[in-house]
Symmetry: C2
Amino acid sequence: MKPFTTLKVPETLGFASATMDRVAAKRNDPAFIAEAFAAPDARFLILKEDVPVLSAPSDGTALFERSMLPPDLRSSEMIFLGRHGAGGQPVFVHVEATGSENPEQAMVETRTLIDLRSIAQQGLVPHDEVGLLACAKALSTWHRTHGFCSRCGARSRLADGGWKRVCESCSAEHFPRTDPVVIMVATHDDRVLLGRQPRFPPGMYSALAGFMEPGETIEAAVRREIYEEAGIRCGAVRYLGSQPWPFPMQLMIGAETEALHDTIDIDRDELEDARWFTRDEIKAMFRDEHPQGLKAPHPVAIAHHLLRAWFRG
Amino acid sequence: MKPFTTLKVPETLGFASATMDRVAAKRNDPAFIAEAFAAPDARFLILKEDVPVLSAPSDGTALFERSMLPPDLRSSEMIFLGRHGAGGQPVFVHVEATGSENPEQAMVETRTLIDLRSIAQQGLVPHDEVGLLACAKALSTWHRTHGFCSRCGARSRLADGGWKRVCESCSAEHFPRTDPVVIMVATHDDRVLLGRQPRFPPGMYSALAGFMEPGETIEAAVRREIYEEAGIRCGAVRYLGSQPWPFPMQLMIGAETEALHDTIDIDRDELEDARWFTRDEIKAMFRDEHPQGLKAPHPVAIAHHLLRAWFRG
């Protein structure tokens, strides 16, 4: 099997297409940030409690012009994502105050809040803007949940265009967090192992997944998770591809692994079910024709593409 | 090129060999933790300000019996790593108080503090114990730097055998952090790109590396880092293997990538030098016979094995 993400992620894979130039070397230059913020072609993503704001009726973009923002915003309070598109437009993220008593409330009638999964699944904005929103959401959630220094408990402040928080009290620097998660299909005798969590949509089965832990390789984490959740010992592990998954701030590391036996022992705290699927069943699920109505994961998720890779291979 | 970590990490790769059964489903059971703690065969790793403590003279193991610990320790203050070895010995991590006024000071004469890199490079303890120490160090550093809730600033407390911290004030739960880092060799015309940071040992060149960012795939991060640090645009990316790197708490994701040109533009804030190496030079570096005295990275680091894989391939 050939890895599918050597040069180009599949068009349908969600959240993986942030193509902006992050201009990382300039983030710590307040003059650069201020100038980018003031540029006439600067554009703004707006999030409210981590939910993207789109115009209503939708005009097909998540990028707002400055006139749609509340007045008196300062560049030092914004997240600078980078330069986007062929023209290199500076893109900032505006995180709105919560509650109803905020200056943006008056704008609500011309806007609509839509969760990021739905935006990706329904293709409400261009593919590369889904990537921008994914980056914006991970960063804004991180700021929202990291307003205090984990080392001393004092309030910290946003710095470096939103790519750092600084504690004035103990001088600690804090950086955005990304949690690596392994997600994998185990295979045995031309069948593939999938499971379902109680929170999944009815009938949907997907690849097993779990957070990596300190002291683990990717390969060890893949084998541990399959054993913990399905009681199956696995051998070889093959990396297939990766995807940012901003719910809230994960990196999905996709793999397949060879099961050494097919007896399943399900961890009922984690999974509602886990079972082997034949090639014919997977084919039927891709066509939404499975006799029991079972469904494959949506193409925005890497699990779909892990299954496709196994099916093709 | 075949991936080198499909089933087995190279014997010499450091920190990647924690083979303990983590017994993750039992971590939230205080009775289980207390029983494991009280077991006669329980063993203890000791860290002081993140530096492992070994016996002096070294007896070839980092695992201490209970008698080497201060009295009155409680299981609720310890990190439970899992069950280790063929006998399934419970292994805990004891993090000592800092400063000289602590109950362990009397034991200092029979003990020695040695940094984890040196332990791995000199093979002072068995390979699988280096893996235990790597896990222990990442967790203890995390606890030391996360004593306060990042959401509300209150003190948090250790829970679930050290695999969680809980804030009694706002009910937030915090989990150990692992930072994904890409580390890669770029190749062009049968040469390989290596660089050196000012802090490297004299003459050593290694693979370029950098922290992954929100909204990135592994493949995108590889290409961004090579471009930022060496000004080179890259195409295909191939995953080769991974390694936990507890300095302080990273996951190294090893790759190779095809450079689209060979002109280098070095970021002097990050690198002291970067250059292309021929196959003959790499061969000489592995034998420590490079005419200018240049050196390859040590085999405990994944960078060494990325180079070996390229050299073999």
